[in-house]
């Protein structure tokens, strides 16, 4: 078991009332799974991903990641955990505009204090693999959306995470680019990376081997492919 959510509740107070963002969510994820989370806007997809990615807190429930109880860990230990095991991909790519493709991909390694030679080798491999060697010195603004997202994925994978979290990864892309990204995800999943993606699109969701439907923060049902 890679991670386990047990009865997670997350709410905000609005006018003295609790508004639930996540309402009694339980979820088990095994290594090597490819899970799609579906639901309309505001259903809590992103919040759930943020909670899984340890970027966001929750009020109640248990979260066990890789046999560590995340809910009782300190900030520092949590940061160490996600640095080690989790990679993020965003709808808006979120590349750093002032850094080149090469430097963007290198960033997570800098925060892991990798050696310079090691970094060079890893980034070179990644550029090679995604076929973007020729673009390594370009800035994000000089790339198409699909290419930017490729860089975003490359950056998410550079630290060899076990779990890849993707929040609407194809949301800003046209259908052809979107399809390419999904094919890439499938490939990565087959290589052993666990993936959880949030998406609006039925066809994208279908790439996953399990689909979780959310509405108003609650898990409605799940289907397996």
């Amino acid at each position: 078991m890679l991670l386990q959510l047990n009865h997670i509740y997350k709410w905000v107070k609005q006018g003295g009332k609790r508004v639930f963002l996540l309402n009694d969510i339980s979820l088990d994820v095994k290594e090597g799974e490819f899970i799609s989370i579906m639901g309309p806007s505001g259903s809590g997809k992103s919040t759930l991903l943020n909670v899984i990615g340890m970027l966001d807190e929750f009020q109640e429930g248990e979260y066990i990641f890789n046999e560590e109880p995340v809910h009782s860990l300190k900030e520092k230990q949590r940061a160490k955990l996600y640095k080690e095991y989790i990679g993020f991909v965003f709808q808006a790519y979120h590349l750093i505009d002032e850094l080149t493709v090469y430097e963007n991909i290198e960033t997570p390694l800098l925060y892991k204090n990798s050696k310079s030679s090691e970094r060079k080798a890893l980034v070179a491999d990644m550029l090679d693999r995604f076929n973007i060697v020729g673009k390594k010195d370009l800035f994000p603004a000089q790339l198409s959306g699909g290419q930017q997202q490729l860089v975003g994925i490359a950056r998410a994978l550079i630290a060899k995470p076990k779990l890849l979290l993707a929040d609407e990864p194809t949301g800003n892309l046209n259908s052809k680019q979107g399809e390419e990204i999904m094919e890439l995800f499938r490939e990565l999943n087959q290589e052993g990376v666990t993936i959880i993606q949030a998406t609006h699109s039925e066809s994208n969701a279908a790439y996953g081997n399990r689909i979780i439907h959310l509405l108003d923060g609650s898990k409605q049902h799940q289907t397996s492919n």
Binding site: G53, F88, I96, E98, Y111, N113, R155
Partner: protein, 798 residues
């Protein structure tokens, strides 16, 4: 990692060039001002400290009580140094150093045509180069000043008199009463600008006993006052008290009735704490201004960098998601700050070097460029750098590193403006400083205008003073006659010394005041009163009052000082042994600076012929020339100069307008005013730049809001007002805070003046309006630009 940070900081700078330039430029301007002031203050404080033993070098001073007045003297009898050296084992060595009181005429004997009048001519004991750390470039350190009529020149003077020729062994004739021939025995380095002792020529003191003027100074062996400033070097600085005690004993040994109190004062204190502090009067205000400007620049930097950083919240979010800890984000922003500060610092050093001559030119100060390398100054500069880095880096690092990644990433545009309140405080503080400086500057200026316009009891306009030297001699009569013949000249007068530059003192008693009091004396001719419009209180009855001797004219202040009757005509004053009858009283007029009330004064009136031959010719007095108000002054001066050189070719022509001489007494205020002018401009510039950049950010931040409002029908004017108003409120607040502050400090400052201007309410109104206008100008430029933008564009980016 570090390289990554520096790289991204650099690219950010290039991306936001305008705000980057404003941020760095503002800081650089502030640092430049700070550097220049520190340079000046460090220089003033470093006076005489370059001597190797400066911590144990002293001047001998005596406090003398004369008729109730305490007078400080630093000129000792010729034997004083040697006597202390013998009597006290704590004294390591002593030195006598006497300056020529008046300029002397020097000639290189091989080129008899070239004559120069030299002011900085001194006589010193043979151990001069041993005692002080002045470097002797040519000649023997121990022998150069041993023999009578030896002369050491400064480098500049060696060049002036001998060009590139080796001056050693050459002769220079020195013309005083008689002409003396000196042999050049050495060339010394020019004295540094921070030396209170700065002779161009040092002659051997052993020449003096055979010079007519000085023979008598060596007559007495006693330990008492005399005419030689005397320096002591002690073995230990802690021995001061013992040596002072020994001096006191020596004094009473010679004369049991002596009441003079002898003391030692540290040479390095002489410049700042000396009796004539007019140069350094505001030395303590300058660092305060420097600190204010620095605060202004730092606050500006802080406010801009947090604004700039808030545009980068996305980057911070991304970094955090990719594993950056709070510490590493903080570190990144610290590095960035450091980079900016370093850039600003480099710019400011370049600016300081470039602006130095101009800045000190305005202030009328000369400082050797070498002083830039002075270790104290360099360490102050390093301290400034470190402080700036620490102060500027801290807050942005703290704020930026606290950003929450989830919030920052959700909205694709940086919507949360970090530290809005801080920036408001910053803007207010900046304008408080700028406005307070502006108000103070205006008031200082008004005060200067006011004191310059004060009716001092005599006419200062259209009068030029010509100080003559003894070299005029018997030519003084034809000289004066020819000047009076000039068509533009209305009348002339003679005094012993130029006004505001000193006077003789006599110790005088009266019937009701048997204890002698020091009384300033002016020796004048009878044209003095008319030429300078001095009014009579009681005019002498006899038209030719000056023809009889043993008479004196006094001013009103002297009546009360000597407890005379309300009509003192016919009473007499006792000048030592000679009794003089009071024949007239003039209305009080200021004859020294305005700080003190008008002192008592006596005028010895001579007939015109007498005054011209004796005062003007024999002893070198001063001729006052009053000319018609609409005269062509430069033409008049060249005519006078032509006449002058005809009668005295030995001494170069010199002149000073009486009103200039009067204004010169406010030199330290003038200097303060000029520094203020400069810093008002700087403060306004920095504050304006900061406001401009903030307005730009604010417009960027609110681009969507403005778009929506415009779509809903807001006009350009409404939008401009909306954007500007936020800032103008802050300026208004700044005016309210700055006005009482400025009033308070200016009120304090004015307390030092005998004549003070009133602080008008409209000064505050004017300064406030000025600041407001500046703010409206800077803010509305951006606001209008933002308001004019097409809303379709701004809304699409969302």
């Amino acid at each position: 990692m570090l390289r990554n940070y520096i790289k991204i900081a650099w690219r950010n700078l290039l991306k936001n060039k305008l705000s980057g330039i404003i941020t760095i430029g503002g800081l650089a301007i502030g640092l430049t001002a700070c550097t220049l002031i520190l340079f000046y203050v460090a220089h003033e404080r470093s006076y005489d400290s370059f001597h190797a033993d400066s911590d144990r070098m002293y001047t001998v001073e005596a406090q003398v009580n004369m008729g109730g007045d305490t007078i400080y003297m630093n000129a000792m009898n010729a034997t004083v140094g040697a006597l202390i050296e013998n009597a006290s084992p704590s004294v390591f060595s002593s030195l006598r150093l006497k300056d020529e009181y008046k300029p002397v005429i020097l000639t290189n004997t091989q080129q008899p045509g070239t004559r120069f009048s030299e002011k900085d001519f001194s006589y010193a004991d043979a151990n001069f180069f041993d005692f002080f750390s002045f470097k002797l470039l040519k000649g023997s350190k121990t022998e150069a000043l041993t023999k009578p009529y030896s002369l050491v020149l400064s480098q500049d003077m060696a060049k002036k008199y001998f060009g590139n020729q080796n001056p050693i062994g050459e002769s220079i004739s020195v013309r005083k009463d008689s002409t003396y021939l000196f042999t050049v025995t050495g060339v010394m380095e020019n004295t540094p600008s921070n030396s209170s002792i700065h002779p161009d020529f040092v002659a051997s003191l052993s020449s003096m006993p055979t010079m007519n003027d000085y023979k008598r100074d060596f007559d007495s062996e006693a330990f008492r006052l005399g005419s030689f400033p005397t320096y002591l070097k002690l073995k230990n600085a802690s021995d001061v008290k013992t040596v002072e005690k020994t001096m006191q004993e020596l004094s009473t040994q010679g004369n049991a009735d002596a009441t003079d109190v002898y003391s030692l004062s540290l040479l390095t204190d002489k410049h700042l704490n000396g009796r004539d502090a007019s140069n350094t009067r505001y030395i303590s205000i300058f660092p305060l201004i420097a600190v204010l400007i620095l605060i202004l620049a730092l606050v500006n930097y802080l406010s801009l960098s947090t604004a700039r950083a808030s545009l980068r919240s996305k980057e911070i979010g991304v970094r955090k998601v990719n594993g950056a800890s709070r510490k590493s984000v903080a570190f990144q922003f610290y590095i960035e700050s450091t980079l900016y500060v370093l850039l600003a610092f480099v710019v400011s050093v370049v600016l300081s070097v470039v602006l130095k001559p101009w800045f000190f030119g305005i202030l009328g100060i000369e400082i050797d460029a070498v002083f830039f390398l002075n270790p104290t100054f360099l360490s102050i500069l390093a301290g400034l750098l470190v402080f700036t880095i620490l102060a500027t880096g801290f807050y942005p690092a703290l704020v930026m590193s606290a950003f929450n990644p989830v919030e920052n990433l959700r909205s694709s545009r940086a919507s949360k403006m970090g530290g809005v309140r801080l920036r408001k405080v910053c803007t207010t503080v900046q304008f408080v400083i700028a406005i307070a400086l502006l108000v103070s500057g205006i008031i200082i200026h008004q005060q200067l205008d006011f004191v310059r316009g004060v009716d001092t009891g005599l006419n200062r306009s259209d009068v030029v003073m010509l100080p003559l030297q003894k070299t005029m001699g018997t030519n003084s009569t034809p000289f004066r006659n020819e000047i009076e013949k000039l068509s533009q000249v209305t009348n002339t007068a003679v005094t012993q010394y130029p006004i505001y530059k000193g006077y003789n003192m006599f110790f005088v008693s009266s019937e009701h005041m048997p204890d002698a009091i020091g009384l300033p004396i002016f020796a004048v001719d009878d044209d003095f009163f008319q030429t300078l419009d001095v009014n009579w209180e009681l005019k002498p009855e006899d038209e030719h009052y000056y023809s009889k001797s043993e008479q004196v004219v006094i001013n009103e202040a002297a009546i009360s000082k000597f407890k005379l009757g309300s009509n003192p005509i016919g009473e007499s004053l006792l000048f030592g042994n000679s009794k003089r009858e009071i024949i007239g009283v003039v209305k009080d007029f200021h004859f020294e600076n305005l700080d003190a009330p008008i002192n008592a004064l006596a005028l010895f009136v001579n007939s015109k012929t007498q005054a011209t031959t004796n005062i003007l010719g024999k002893s070198g007095g001063c001729l006052f020339v009053h000319f018609q108000p609409d005269s062509d002054v430069s033409q008049l001066l060249s005519q006078i100069e032509a006449i002058y050189t005809q009668y005295d070719s030995a001494t170069p022509f010199e002149y000073q307008f009486l009103d200039d001489a009067f204004d010169a007494m406010f030199r330290s205020e003038e200097r303060l005013s000029q520094v203020f002018n400069l810093f008002i401009i700087l403060a306004m510039l920095i504050a304006g730049l900061g406001l401009f950049a903030l307005a730009t950010f604010s417009a960027q931040q609110r681009v969507k809001e403005l778009g929506v409002r415009k779509v809903l029908g807001a006009s350009v004017i409404q939008l401009t007002t909306l954007l500007s108003f936020d800032f103008l409120k802050l300026i208004l607040l700044a005016i309210l805070i700055a006005s009482p502050l400025a009033w308070y400090f200016m009120h304090l400052w004015l307390q030092d003046f005998n004549y003070k201007t009133t602080i008008h309410w409209w000064v505050f109104l004017g300064a406030g309006t000025g600041a407001m206008a500046l703010a409206i100008l800077t803010v509305s430029f951006q606001a209008i630009k933002a308001a004019l933008a097409n809303p379709v564009k701004s809304l699409r980016t969302e």
